[in-house]
């Protein structure tokens, strides 16, 4: 049933500092709302439990794409459309562009933010696999300061993150020099446009001759949260992919992935299907190298 909107409160603090001060004053009372493409759906079906919200959608301080020598820094309030319009991201981080273009329809991409995609903490979200494969870091901000950490440490469990109630995600920084990496991303869903993935894999690898010198894998729906597949990466380091060795490398990769695949069963798919398709995607990437 539809919610009674008169029971909900929403304000728009004039600045990031003002928003952080409100969050700090009564931690846990207020929920930030950015593009609203998650929270407004919950409101529409009567499932929005948080009744006091503050809008961060208009905050310029959270909506930016800055490029320096080492990294591209993306404000949490950056929309998918902003990302798709960025020449720098298109050149350096093609997997991020690809995943942004999958995230719902054009109307959703005009509102939905990168920060909302990450903080909503769905295991199936589209941008996390690319961010994990690229080794992104996140910057969290509160009235008492900021902290940064590898994005791979951000998710603690199903819909659980390290964010404290007084904190906001400020930005995501992604290293930019992947020009000598092969890059791959694939999402398996029911329909190309705006379908939530059953499973997705982002992968980048650097080769020295026939040997894998570096490989990084990020996956959606492989476990209860977006994950970097560290065990599989370790199993693939220094493995050879020439004709004589490729089959053995693929077998080792599939076996390693099976040890870290702990998918959930839900209405979109079963755990068994997800684990099998993830291994197929990894094999597809390795055979394409």
């Amino acid at each position: 049933m539809r919610s009674d909107v008169s029971l909900y409160d929403l304000s728009a603090p004039p600045s990031l500092d003002a928003a952080l001060a409100i969050l700090a004053k009564e931690p846990g009372k207020y929920t930030p709302i950015a593009g609203g493409t998650e929270l407004m759906v919950a409101l529409g079906v009567g499932r929005l439990v948080q009744h006091s919200l503050i809008s961060i959608q208009h905050l310029r301080e959270l909506r930016f794409i800055r490029v320096d020598d080492k990294a591209i820094h993306i404000g949490a309030g950056t929309t998918f459309t902003d990302i798709r319009r960025s020449q720098a991201i298109a050149e350096d981080l093609p997997l991020l562009i690809q995943s942004a273009s999958w995230t719902g329809s054009i109307a959703n991409q005009n509102r939905g933010t990168l920060g909302g995609n990450i903080c909503n903490a769905s295991p199936a979200a589209d941008t996390p696999p690319a961010l994990l494969a690229y080794g992104a870091t996140v910057r969290l901000i509160s009235a008492s300061g900021t902290r940064t950490m590898p994005y791979s440490d951000f998710h603690l469990g199903y819909k659980k993150t390290v964010l404290r109630p007084d904190e906001l995600l400020h930005s995501i920084s992604v290293p930019r020099d992947f020009s000598d990496y092969r890059q791959y991303i694939r999402k398996v869903g029911t329909r190309n446009a705006q379908s939530i993935s059953k499973i997705a894999l982002a992968a980048i690898a650097k080769l020295e001759g026939d040997t894998i010198a570096d490989i990084r894998l990020g996956a959606a729906s492989l476990t209860d949260r977006p994950v970097r597949c560290s065990a599989t990466e370790a199993a693939l380091q220094r493995q050879r992919i020439d004709g004589a060795n490729l089959d053995a490398t693929v077998r080792a990769a599939r076996a390693a992935l099976a040890t870290e695949a702990k998918p959930i069963d839900d209405i979109r798919s079963t755990a068994k299907y997800r684990a099998a398709v993830a291994a197929n995607l990894l094999e597809e990437f390795l055979r394409s190298l």
Partner: protein, 156 residues
């Protein structure tokens, strides 16, 4: 608690006093009686409620009223001028791009947004631009043809 909210709709300044989390869709339909904007799913899936907010296509069922404060909105009522159908509307009529009409306001606004970006879109661009607009009647082919004809009419 109600909050005063002002914006421009189809060139007219409007003020409403509504709960800040009220869906923009409901403000348009209930408070401003602009019922051309339709509700299909109420979940961001169907695009029947699409409007232009500062020139960007958005689903008004997912926009809290307060987030539209100070914005410039265009709804289907603002697409035609002085009783003259917009070429996009004319082409949907001629090509059979509308049947029951529930999806049509959203389709027209999504087309508007698409042709702003790509005056001569490819079929792929049309399909992507309208992927968030669902139609249960036409089977889409006539809609794509309407969009193509509109593009040819506006930017020959």
């Amino acid at each position: 608690m109600n909050t005063p909210i002002q914006f421009t709709v189809n060139g007219n300044r409007q003020s409403v006093d509504v709960p800040p989390m009220k869906r923009l869709l409901d403000v348009l339909r209930e408070d401003l009686h602009l019922t051309g904007t339709k509700e299909g799913c109420g979940e961001g899936e169907c695009g029947a409620c699409a409007v232009l907010l500062n020139g960007e296509l958005v689903n008004s069922c997912l926009v809290p009223a307060l987030q539209a404060h100070g914005s410039r909105l265009c709804t289907i009522e603002g697409v035609s001028t002085e009783g003259q159908l917009h070429p996009i509307q004319q082409c949907f009529l001629e090509r059979g791009g509308a049947q029951c009409g529930i999806c049509t306001p959203g389709m027209i606004l999504a087309t508007h947004h698409l042709l702003d970006k790509y005056p001569n879109p490819t079929l792929e661009q049309i399909q992507e631009g309208l992927a968030g607009n669902l139609c249960r009647c036409t089977g889409y082919m006539r809609i794509f043809e309407s969009v193509q004809q509109a593009a040819n009419t506006i930017s020959p």
